[in-house]
Symmetry: C2
Subunit: 164 residues, 2 copies
């Protein structure tokens, strides 16, 4: 029993630690994908109630599937949503541009592994320290709850932008 | 003289034509860069007076210079600004997402060639037909005029987003 507790403590401290191999790790074990701003644009978005401006990007697998209209997205797809405080441009106040970094969130597709949350693993990293969000892995209940109304779109709110 | 006129007519018809090598061409000769949505994100932006949501992307040369803080940007830098009509998300109306495509604009750095407009060549392609904007090449007066207040930032409004 004591052995089990020790093992648990070690697992918890690893899962909850801010850095693993130099990358922050969410309480459910998902590590930050550091290259999320090198991925292709899925869409910009603006959240007026929170005063945030965002961009949603996707890795190659996700973007290829979104372009082809493949639903559900295949395993290996990862989407990132990056949020900044929206600030009025000093030279052009009717335009809002990104100010301070707020957070980055990920949805990682692994249909079997995350079958209880629609096949998606969720993770959020907050502020300039990229602090993993959530005390334990039950934080995903909040994410999944809010994404459930869009179950018909594979739990995704965002569609690939249209361009001619 | 007749020869000169014929040459002029040919040049004009080429410059003003909607398609050259399958790409629309602006009246100043700048052809659409078809891969602008594969470029890296510089920043999202939101224009409340026009109800538009945008994303600014840059080619490799531009993004490398912006990251390094190199000003003015080197020749070969190209920035794109893509605009969509902002629409409230049907499942989440406080979030605005891209609807219909409005236009794509480019700024192309060639310090010598475009020295009268801060070293930047401007081009805009409107709507799903990507109609080149401007009756003749004097259309750039409008672009340059509006970008002149940000001459101190190499005529760019947008800064590279910050992320940790
Ligand atoms: C209160 C509702 C709500 C909650 C809670 C929520 N989301 Fe979202 N999420 C949204 C909406 C709405 C969008 C669409 C884009 C936007 O609003 O900027 C979105 C978009 C996303 C995207 C981009 C893909 C898509 O579906 O459009 C990711 C990734 C994401 N959320 C991750 C998370 C994670 C991780 C959590 C929990 C830690 C979370 N979300 C919790 C409402 C929510
Ligand atoms: C009425 C003012 C105005 C005019 C006219 C204007 N722009 Fe801009 N432009 C802006 C502002 C403000 C931004 C910052 C981003 C935003 O508002 O979405 C911008 C951004 C851009 C960008 C992205 C790089 C940057 O500077 O941020 C490009 C490319 C661009 N404009 C091209 C053009 C072209 C091409 C034309 C003319 C055909 C033009 N602009 C005319 C105001 C203007």
């Amino acid at each position: 029993m004591r052995k089990k507790l020790v093992v648990c403590a070690v697992i918890l401290s690893v899962a909850g630690s801010v850095v693993a191999a130099d990358r922050p790790v969410a309480p459910n074990g998902i590590a930050l994908y550091p290259d999320y701003l090198s991925w292709k644009v899925v869409a910009p978005s603006y959240r007026e109630d929170k005063g945030q401006i965002r961009v949603i990007t996707g890795n190659e697998i996700a973007v290829a599937a979104l372009k082809a209209g493949t639903k559900p997205l295949p395993d290996g797809s990862v989407l990132a949503k990056v949020a900044w405080k929206a600030e009025k441009h000093p030279n052009f106040p009717v335009a809002s541009e990104p100010g301070a970094f707020v957070q980055v969130e990920f949805m990682v597709k692994a249909a079997r592994k995350y079958k209880e949350t629609g096949g998606w693993g969720f993770a959020r990293f907050v502020g300039n320290t990229l602090q993993p969000y959530g005390k334990d892995k039950s934080f995903v209940v909040e994410c999944f709850g809010c994404h459930t109304p869009v179950a018909g779109n594979d739990y995704l709110f965002t569609k690939m932008v249209k361009s001619p």
